[in-house]
Amino acid sequence: MRAVLRRAGSGLIVLWAAATAAYLALLAAPGDTVDSIIGDGADTPLIRSQIIQEWGLDRPAVVQYLDYLWRAAHGDLGRSYLLQRPVRDVIGEQLTPTLELAVAAAALGVLIALVLAVTTRRAWARRTSSTTELVLVSTPPFLIGIVLLSVFSFRFGWFPVSGDRGVAALILPAVTLALPIAGVLTQVLRDGLDRALSEPFAVTARSRGLAENAVLIRHALRHALLPAVTLTGWLFGVLLGGAVIVEQVFGRPGLGQVTLAAVNSKDMPVVLAVVVLSAFVYVLINTLADVVYLAIDPRLRRS
């Protein structure tokens, strides 16, 4: 329990540092802060004074920074200048499609990885599988998406070309996002299984009369999961980054589209909010992963 609290504590520190870094990036931008907030938006004296007032840019820098932190901590992420709406609402309504995509892709990726790592133990299956993994990991996800799109939507017409209506529209984007994840995870799991199976405890388990599959599932798999769990943070980054690209390829609405639009129009409050939000989720997920790690590995628990 104390270990969990300590991890949560260090997670908060990381989050604070991340929010600060994002804020500093904004300040470090060349030119006037008002300019970078306005970006390519309409530039009138009225809007300028509005920005100065809303962001409190006439106050001392320290106060501005503390105010930013305070508001961010309360979920107030500012106002989009492009859309003239609170950022929270903009993000809130686009969150669901991205979340659906991310969860579906993560689940699919993990499932594929587990099945592949466990079933491809024989030499030839292993060689085929690891070559495929290498190709998947090395291929840009948008290329995978484009190929899937041209084969299954254009050629066969099995799935809609774009949109987010229904499960059918989710399948290709989720597969696109899941494949590179499955590639990496399979490699990590297989490596972990190999290592665990060559440990003395695997010999002991076999010497009890366990079938090879039982040794694999009951003993080795838990060991193999440990390094995979540490990849959770990475997985989240790939999901979110991948979502931006996949949403673009498949014309799906979502956080990625919002972010891209914001970047292109320099709608800084939205960009900043997305980045800080993703850091928050990253820290949250990593803390969860630490807890899961503790649950799997008793050696790290302090009694």
Partner: protein
């Protein structure tokens, strides 16, 4: 007593794969250094030969403006490799410096540095890059700095851990026996042993950087058209996917093959390195 425990040494360097990877990398390097040697002008448009399928005249076909896709792919190598190398260069240089600093310093400084690595890696690579580009605008330089910054923590962490391991290794402890000073220990034992695996890591990292750069270019954040950048080419060709798959898929293959080659060669060297050291 461990004879039966050890797995039989499976000879898996897959030499043909490694050979193919090396040849491909050599070609890619050649294309990046002297693109004119292998291909003609990547910008020469030919309105009479638009979106033509691959043929003897146009190995990779032509794109929507009648430009030769092969010529563009060859010239694109320069952009992709240069962006990747520069990004990895930034990440490795800063990562090594900060990692060594963390590994060699005492608890407080180490803790502070490690937390900042954590903070930096809390941003997904792509989002960090987008934030950066939102501030500075699209272009190669933005890509390089953004990718370099985002991948820096990986190197810093590896170097930090490695420094810890080496510092505690028996040979460093025992070098004290010969009256070695701290500076001498760091220079003669710690640094060479810490840096050993770095070129290989950087090689595999280069693949990731190229992949990330292609992704950002695909989103229109990289070199602007008509520059022949691989990611941008895929993006441009996407609109003609139904009638001309080659305009986007073949540049994509170039990315994939480059990254695979880097990974295969890097892993091979890694195994060699670990086997020896």
């Amino acid at each position: 007593m461990t004879l039966a425990l050890e797995r039989p040494v499976v000879l898996r360097p897959r030499r043909p794969g490694v050979a193919a990877a090396s040849v491909f990398l050599a070609v890619a390097l050649l294309a990046a250094l002297w693109p004119g040697l292998l291909a003609a002008d990547p910008l020469a448009a030919d309105p009479f030969h638009v979106l033509e399928a691959p043929s003897a005249a146009h190995w990779f076909g032509t794109d929507q403006l009648g430009r030769d896709v092969f010529d563009r792919v060859v010239h694109g190598a320069r952009h992709s490799l240069a962006i990747g190398l520069a990004a990895v260069g930034i990440a490795v240089f800063a990562g090594v410096l900060l990692g060594l600093l963390a590994g060699l310093s005492h608890r407080f400084a180490d803790e502070a540095l490690s937390r900042s690595f954590d903070a930096l890696s809390a941003f997904p690579l792509l989002l960090l890059a987008l934030l950066f580009i939102a501030i500075t605008g699209p272009g190669s330089v933005s890509l390089v700095v953004a990718i370099g910054l985002a991948t820096l923590p990986t190197y810093a962490r590896v170097i930090r851990t490695q420094t810890f391991v080496v510092r505690r290794a028996g040979y460093v402890t025992e070098a004290v026996a010969f009256g070695a000073s701290r500076a001498r220990l760091v220079l003669r034992h710690v640094l060479p042993n810490v840096l050993g695996p770095l070129p290989i890591l950087a090689m595999i990292g280069l693949g990731e950087a190229i992949l990330a750069a292609a992704g950002l270019s695909f989103l229109g954040m990289g070199p602007q058209p008509p520059s022949p950048e691989w990611g941008a080419m895929i993006s441009e060709g996407r609109g003609y996917l139904r009638i001309a798959w080659w305009a986007s898929v073949l540049p994509g293959m170039a990315v994939t093959l480059t990254v695979i080659s880097l990974t295969v060669a890097g892993r091979y060297l890694q195994r060699r390195f670990e086997g020896r050291a």
